[in-house]
């Protein structure tokens, strides 16, 4: 589904590359985790495959087409969905409004279907009353579950998550991990997450470590 061809990235000076010659392939229906030391470039790599920035060298292909040809805006809209450590929900909206807004922007086939959204939220343990509450009044675990449901409701085939369990307690971490596995295995999407938690990484189908500018399968 997603392939990186000799991808490299650096800030300013090409002598100080963050990583180089990255040749990876990510398949649909699988959950990948990327681990590595802080500052090694995990999040930067994730932002490249999420279409938030362009690689300094090399190319990224999605379903055989280069991202530059798809167009980053179009790619972000139709092909990829993101989950952030700090949830990144619209604080002035309710859970249901957050999801409906994302579905509307991405042009999801279920856009505007409130019933479908409520069902999805119910599956992750968020009842209707909580779904209609402003997200800033929900707990961190609930907010992250809303963020994950947002990616589930959008039709993107690739889900990238940056430290999705970073701010959560053990129970919520398990819930979130289980949801991500569900997205990969049941919805047959490709899920790539960046984490520094080994337990989370081990629960994934594949673990890739970024070490000394190189990505290696563990």
């Amino acid at each position: 589904m997603l392939k990186t061809n000799r991808v490299g990235y650096w800030y300013g000076d090409a002598e100080n590359k963050l990583f180089e010659n990255v040749n990876l392939e990510f398949l649909k229906g699988r959950l990948y985790s990327i681990i590595g030391k802080s500052g090694s470039g995990k999040t930067t790599f994730l932002s490249l495959i999420a279409g938030l920035a362009r690689p300094s060298e090399g190319s990224i292909e999605f379903n055989g087409r280069e991202l530059s040809k798809i167009g980053l805006l179009n790619y972000r809209k139709k092909c990829v969905s993101m989950v952030f450590q700090s949830y990144n929900l619209f604080s002035y909206m309710s859970a249901i409004e957050n999801i409906l807004t994302a579905m509307s922007i991405t042009g999801s086939k279920n856009a505007g279907n409130k019933k479908y959204v409520l069902e999805m939220l119910d599956q992750v343990g968020i009842d209707e009353a909580s779904a209609k509450r402003r997200v800033s009044r929900l707990s961190g675990g609930q907010q992250q579950r809303v963020a994950i449901v947002r990616t589930m409701c959008c039709d993107a085939q690739l889900v990238v998550a940056d430290e999705p369990t970073g701010n959560l307690d053990e129970t919520s971490t398990k819930d979130v991990l289980s949801l991500l596995q569900k997205i990969a295995h049941e919805q047959q999407k490709c899920v790539i997450l960046v984490t520094h938690e080994l337990d989370v990484a081990k629960a994934c189908d594949s673990v890739i470590e970024l070490h000394q500018k190189k990505f290696e399968y563990v």
């Binding site: 999040t43 930067t44 932002s47 999420a50 938030l52 920035a53 805006l73 179009n74 790619y75 972000r76 809209k77 139709k78 993101m82 952030f84 700090s86 990144n88 929900l89 619209f90 604080s91 002035y92 909206m93 409004e97 807004t101 994302a102 509307s104 922007i105 991405t106 402003r134």
Partner: protein, 475 residues
């Protein structure tokens, strides 16, 4: 239209910030609307001043040119001969598109025969009377020939009024009809329909029929001879009658052209000069009334214009700063929107819509308060500018004193002109502006408001939106 919904939700939920923006926006729009309506009121007052404040151009003999041709012989006084204006030429000039109406004037000094003139003694009038003109102007009555009394500035300004019968009209040409002053009529027991007799310088008696009685302006001064100084001794008749008494034909002392638009007086003079082959005549514009109204109005209009621009610029800066702070606070939200694939222009449109929603409510406040503020500010401005103009006028009138020398006929005419000018100035002094909120003013306000919020939004969001979504999210 997803961004409009997001904007509405944001404005609704973030009440504190919305209230702050509402207050700032209301203040901006209030002052902008006040400025716009004052400006419009001033402009409409200028155009109505153009219609109502009559500017006149007088065609008369040029005294300057006449003095140049005075024959000076040793031991004799210089004799000034003033040429008469041809009525035919005056009518030709009056056919210009700049002229609304015209009035031909002629005058003759005659003696009362069947009645007595009003006698006045005033020590201040003895000095400047020119001895050179005494022979011609020895009568006690001024017979003033006019085309239409209603067009005389002394009547149109309300200084003099017809109190019985009617004034002289164009249809009175070649008749013996006259209009006499109330005081003269009272002293001589004259009524409308009475007949009076006058004698010209050749002692020829002419009978005149009174068709109207007028009350003279209290400040008017006809000023030929001693008794002629009394305004009551002026009798109005047709120009033709004065010519027949003087033994002339088709001549006039002066012709006064009233302009359609006071601003065109100079253009008219230029075109009229081309039709006057001789340099013996002068065309003098009197648009002092128009100018006295125009000066404060222009000041008000200019001040209102400055208010609009200053508030507009300050408002844009203040709003842009608020939007910059708002964007900084919400850059993560922008990053998420961009990461979802939202177009940049739609993100800008969301911020714009938020300000637009607030502007809609603020416009109502501006509509309610704008008229009140506009009235208060304009009245204050009018009072200040008219008092400043009045001080200037008083100063310049005082300075005219020493120039009031000269002799005979022209001196008298100058005095009449000054009196009329003062009368008009006092009557038509600008008191207040008709400040009202028109649809055009409201649309202009909305246009201005839209421009301000668009500029503020662009200035506030541009630095963030130029960044890559990743950098926005990381920062």
């Amino acid at each position: 239209m997803n961004f409009v919904k997001r904007a509405f939700l944001n404005v609704k939920v973030k009440m504190g910030r919305s209230l702050l923006l509402f207050l700032v926006m209301s203040a901006i729009l209030l002052f902008v609307l006040a400025g716009i309506i004052i400006q419009q009121a001033a402009n409409s007052a200028v155009s109505s001043a153009k219609k109502s404040a009559n500017a006149t151009v007088t065609l008369a003999a040029s005294r300057e040119q006449a003095f140049k041709k005075v024959s000076r012989q040793s031991g004799t006084r210089p004799k000034l001969t003033l040429p008469s204006v041809s009525i035919a030429t005056a009518k030709k000039i009056a056919s210009s598109g700049y002229v609304k109406s015209y009035n031909i004037s002629n005058s003759a000094s005659v003696n009362a025969s069947s009645f007595s003139a009003i006698e006045t003694s005033s020590s201040s009038q003895q000095g400047p009377q020119g001895a050179g003109a005494q022979e011609q102007q020895s009568g006690d009555i001024t017979l003033s020939g006019v085309s239409n009394t209603a067009q005389l500035t002394t009547f149109s300004s309300g200084g003099s009024k017809i109190v019985e019968g009617r004034g002289i009209k164009a249809s009175d040409a070649d008749t013996n009809n006259v209009t006499v002053e109330k005081q003269l009529a009272k002293e001589n027991n004259l009524k409308v329909g009475s007949t009076i007799s006058i004698k010209n310088t050749s002692k020829k008696v002419t009978k005149l029929k009174i068709i109207g009685i007028y009350k003279a302006s209290s400040t008017e001064n006809s000023g030929f001879g001693m008794m002629q100084n009394d305004p009551s001794n002026t009798i109005y008749s047709s120009v033709e009658k004065v010519n027949s008494i003087k033994g002339t034909s088709g001549k006039a002392t002066s012709v006064t052209f009233t302009m359609n638009n006071p601003a065109n007086a100079k253009k008219f003079i230029k075109s009229a000069k081309k039709q006057l082959s001789s340099s013996k005549f002068a065309l003098t514009a009197d648009d002092s009334t128009y100018r006295s109204i125009l000066t404060p109005l222009n000041n008000v209009s200019s001040f209102a214009n400055k208010i609009v621009w200053l508030v507009g610029i300050a408002g844009t800066i203040i709003l842009a700063l608020i939007v910059i702070l708002m964007v900084r606070e919400r850059r993560y939200e922008i990053g998420v929107l961009l990461s979802l694939g939202e177009k940049r222009w739609k993100v800008i449109a969301q911020f714009f819509s938020e300000l637009l929603l607030i502007m809609a409510v603020s416009s109502i406040v501006a509509l309610i308060g704008g008229k009140f503020l506009g009235n208060t500010v304009s009245n204050q401005l009018i009072q200040q500018t008219t008092s400043a103009t009045s001080s200037l006028t008083v100063g310049s009138n005082q300075n005219q004193g020493p120039q009031a020398g000269g002799s005979g006929l022209s001196q008298g005419q100058a005095n009449v002109g000054n009196a009329n000018r003062k009368g008009i100035g006092q009557n038509k002094q600008l008191q207040s502006l008709d400040v009202n909120i028109s649809l055009a003013a409201f649309l202009k306000l909305l246009g201005f408001g839209l421009f301000i919020i668009l500029l503020a939004t662009l200035l506030g969001t541009i630095n963030v939106l130029l960044l890559e979504p990743r950098r926005i999210l990381i920062s």
